[in-house]
């Protein structure tokens, strides 16, 4: 029975339970004089029956969908003869692919066919039986649960409380997904990074000056030892971030100040959403713009001025990234500036200060913590930005501070290392997770500090 049929069947069973639960609760109190003799509304009796019918079955289904494949694979491997038992994880993946292809008839059986063909049949049989067992178990669970709930219905049953308890549990579960996500990120990145640090020492990774993540196929190959020193990547990321910030912070801040302090409401109502458009453009579009329009423009201008400019200069990527971050800075700055109480403005103006003096000497210092927090959030955004640098920055890990040179960043390297086919346990692939860990830790701490700064500031005027 296919998964979707099973699911549909289960849904209809749940609907039936609801219907009969509802009917029974109404029927029970009919001789007593209507539903005012019920403890809860009939809806809750129906819902309770539906929950009894559906919840255990759905949990079983979810568990089966998640864990049946690994279990079947393990069973299959233990039944294989000793000589073709897989030695490593990669071998195991290859083997299971081969068996599956033979079982599906895509692959002609090769030399070691006998055992593998048998394994293919075994696999199909295991899958088939697990599916039938689960279907039978699931449907009987649903029927038994629904019937049990149906029999338990009495006018005194506190159905509403029970249903609401389940509902609250569901809400709690949903809100815990955020924690599981963070945990999942941490575990996945940390686990692979630890595997990476087993082959490359942490100090080499954090303080090494050269990055060339290729691994040899043969031991005697030229340049066989890959170098995993991440300093050039950090430097490149910082260079591009600094360029982006020199564009985004002044422009964002000044436009926020102008819009909140000077602009007529008409200009504000036009300019503000127009600037927000920049925030809604996908990063891949900025990347395309940087690579095909800005970078050639900068290269041509530079060449005309007698400079040597790389066609993948850090400047192009940084400038475009700065433009992308402008609305982010300006909307955060706008929030903190408008949070400064009007009385402070009035006080300053009453003392004879001009408007710009008020902004610079009164509003800006008062809003400073919030602005600093906003800039830090913007920096964390720039560090984690991927598509612009993947498309417009280079691949070569140069350790340079020249914005006209090509540099590479942490995110570019993660993408380069992980896109395409890879084996999962080579240091090359694992290096991407170590870089991911660095990225996660840095952005997380920046956000944490920024939120802290912003929150601390907010308490001052409330």
């Amino acid at each position: 029975m296919s998964l979707s049929t099973l699911f549909l069947l289960l849904i209809s069973l749940i609907a039936l339970s609801y219907y009969y639960g509802y009917r029974r609760s109404v029927a029970l109190v009919k001789p007593l004089g209507g539903i005012r003799h019920l403890h809860s509304l009939p809806f809750y009796y129906g819902a309770r029956a539906a929950i009894w019918c559906g919840m255990p079955a759905l949990l079983l289904l979810a568990g089966w969908a998640l864990f049946s494949e690994p279990l079947i694979t393990r069973l299959l491997f233990s039944s294989l003869p000793q000589d073709i038992q897989p030695q490593s994880l990669a071998d195991a993946n290859l083997l299971i692919n081969k068996i599956e292809n033979i079982a599906a008839g895509n692959l002609q059986a090769g030399k070691d066919s006998g055992a593998i063909v048998a394994a293919g049949e075994q696999l199909a049989k295991l899958r088939n039986s697990s599916r039938w067992y689960v279907s039978a178990l699931l449907l009987s669970l649903a029927v038994i649960g629904g019937t049990f709930a149906w029999f338990k219905i009495t006018p005194q049953l506190r159905a509403r409380q029970e249903v609401e308890k389940v509902f609250r549990g569901f809400l709690l579960g949903c809100s815990c997904i955020a924690i599981f996500t963070t945990l999942g990120i941490l575990l996945s990145v940390l686990f692979e990074s630890l595997m990476f640090f087993r082959s490359v020492p942490v100090t080499d990774f954090l303080f090494g000056l050269s990055w060339s993540p290729q691994m040899s196929i043969r031991a005697d190959q030229v340049g066989s030892s890959g170098a995993f020193g991440a300093i050039p990547l950090f430097a490149g990321t910082m260079l591009i971030t600094v360029i982006a910030m020199t564009v985004a912070v002044p422009v964002g801040l000044l436009s926020a100040i102008y819009l909140s302090e000077y602009a007529s409401s008409r200009l504000r109502s036009i300019a503000k959403p127009a600037l927000e458009v920049l925030a809604g453009i996908p990063t891949v579009v900025y990347g395309f713009f940087a690579a095909l329009t800005v970078a050639p423009f900068i290269r041509d201008t530079g060449t005309a001025m007698g400079l040597t400019v790389s066609s993948e200069s850090a400047l192009a990527a940084g400038l475009v990234m700065g433009v992308m971050i402008i609305p982010f800075v300006s909307s955060l700055a706008d929030d903190v500036i408008s949070a400064v109480p009007q009385s402070m403005r009035d006080g300053s103006l009453a003392l004879g200060a001009t408007q710009s003096e008020t902004v610079r000497k009164v509003i800006f210092p008062a809003a400073l913590p919030g602005i600093v927090g906003g800039v830090m959030l913007a920096v964390s955004r720039a560090i984690g930005e991927t598509m612009i640098v993947v498309m417009a920055a280079g691949m070569a890990a140069n350790l340079t501070a020249n914005p006209l040179d090509s540099v590479t960043t942490v995110t570019v390297q993660i993408v380069t290392l992980l896109v395409g086919d890879q084996e999962f346990d080579s240091p090359k692939t694992l290096a991407a997770f170590a870089l991911g860990l660095m990225l996660f830790v840095v952005t997380l701490s920046l956000n944490f500090i920024a939120l802290h700064v912003v929150r601390k500031y907010r308490e001052e005027y409330e």
Binding site: I179, I281, V415
Partner: protein, 429 residues
């Protein structure tokens, strides 16, 4: 004494007033300049994309007389569909080109001539025969797709910067000139761009496959992230006790909102693909990853929407004897729904434009077939843009820009819908 000091102050003020006013004007100018810089960026970006991409909505076609010669095709009377697939339709195109340019001789010239027509031309003929087998043996005048080089050349022929020749040889330019003189080459609306999948040939490549992939991915995302996000927001706003656990959840939600999207891709790769063994490149994994990514956005905006419902509503419902759950489900939730929907649409717009995490989970493969479901290998619009922007053919620049225009159009529609929804359903308490 006091009189003297007063005079001094006013003198001081007068002396510096000009400078201060100048500083004031300068400051205003800076502010105005930065706003104009931001607006100029918007304008430049859009004009650049549109000027590069508008051409892709039209494609060059060449009119040819085709004789469906069964002998050339190698088809006899009782041919099967396998025979039809193996038949040499390219030879038909070549023959008709030879008829069109009878003077062309020599290997190289002939090869140049054959390259005027895209390989897609032969497929088109094949489809014609498959649709009406009666055509076999007859003549037909058809518009066939020109190759990408010819297309680029033909489109640039009357541009102000002069024609872009690229890989088009001088002979080919002569052939095109002859075609123009005869009026048998023209630009037609490029319907295939919207309906076909990816291709190595720019003139055959379309965004249909990527658009379907985006659709399936977004369906998964919205089905999961909206209910989960709204439930989480309800819990945090209405039911959560003030304790450490709740604080932990809140901190997590806020931090996840600022985690770089590529990290979610790493999570998807390590957990969904390597641990649970979900296949690569399928919309279901993409949807799961984007769900986790958009969840904080939806939770935060839904919480804001719930917060804006005044407590008096809750108190009134409580006073009528409703339970806490009933108050929330029957009163707070319907009133907060517009705000939640707005947040949901914005989250979906974010998911539609996202590229980096999908690269990590293998949605970057070259996929020709249009996906038919959530478990078929697929790619999405932004990834398609990324793939095309990497291609060396000049014609792909045009295609990429056009795909960007389509993507931006979708995003603008979604964001406008969000704004309108907010405006229309906004309730002032």
């Amino acid at each position: 004494m006091s009189n003297e000091a007063e005079v001094k102050t006013i003198d001081l003020v007068r002396k510096t007033l000009v400078r201060r006013n100048r500083a004031e004007r300068r400051f205003r100018l800076y502010g105005l300049a930065s706003i104009f810089f931001g607006l100029a960026c918007v304008v430049v970006l859009f004009t650049d994309i549109i000027s590069k991409g508008h051409g892709a909505f039209f494609q060059s076609y060449i009119e040819l007389d085709i004789h469906y010669d069964a002998q050339v095709l190698g088809l006899d009377a009782g041919y099967t569909s396998a025979d039809l697939r193996a038949a040499n339709f390219e030879a038909l195109v070549k023959q008709s080109l030879r008829n069109k340019f009878p003077d062309v001789s020599g290997r190289k010239e002939k090869r140049d001539m054959y390259r005027l027509i895209s390989p897609g031309g032969a497929y088109h003929l094949q489809d014609r025969i498959a649709e009406n087998p009666g055509l076999l043996g007859s003549n037909e005048t058809l518009w066939l797709l020109a190759s990408d080089d010819v297309d680029t050349y033909f489109k640039s022929i009357d541009s102000s910067e002069g024609a872009f020749t690229g890989k088009v040889s001088e002979k080919q330019q002569l052939y095109v000139a002859q075609l123009i003189a005869e009026g048998v080459i023209e630009k037609q609306f490029n319907r295939a761009f919207f309906s076909s999948g990816d291709s190595r040939e720019p003139e055959l490549a379309g965004i249909g496959g990527a658009a379907m992939g985006s659709l399936y991915t977004l369906i998964i995302t919205i089905l999961l992230s909206f209910p989960i996000g709204v439930s989480a927001a309800i819990y945090l706003e209405e039911f959560a006790p003030r304790n450490r656990w709740t604080d932990l959840i809140e901190v997590n939600v806020n931090n996840l909102a600022a985690v770089p999207s590529i990290i979610f891709g790493l999570l998807g790769l390590a957990i969904f693909i390597n641990f649970f063994g979900v296949p690569r490149s399928v919309p279901i994994v993409g949807g799961l990853v984007l769900t986790l990514m958009t969840l904080p956005t939806i939770i935060i905006s839904s919480r804001a929407a719930i917060k804006s419902v005044p407590p008096s509503i809750r108190e009134a419902a409580m006073g009528m004897g409703a339970s806490k759950v009933q108050v929330v489900m029957q009163h707070v939730l319907p009133l907060a729904m517009p705000g939640m929907l707005t947040g949901g649409i914005i989250g979906m717009a974010q998911a539609l434009g996202e590229t980096a995490p999908l690269l990590m989970i293998g949605m970057v493969a070259f996929i020709v077939d249009i996906p038919g479901g959530i478990s078929d290998p697929a790619t999405v619009l932004p990834v398609q843009i990324f793939l095309w922007s990497d291609s060396p053919e000049r014609a792909f620049v045009e295609k990429t820009s056009a795909a960007i225009m389509v993507l931006l159009a979708f995003l603008i529609i979604m964001n406008t819908a969000a704004v309108l929804l907010r405006k229309r359903l906004e309730t002032r308490w």
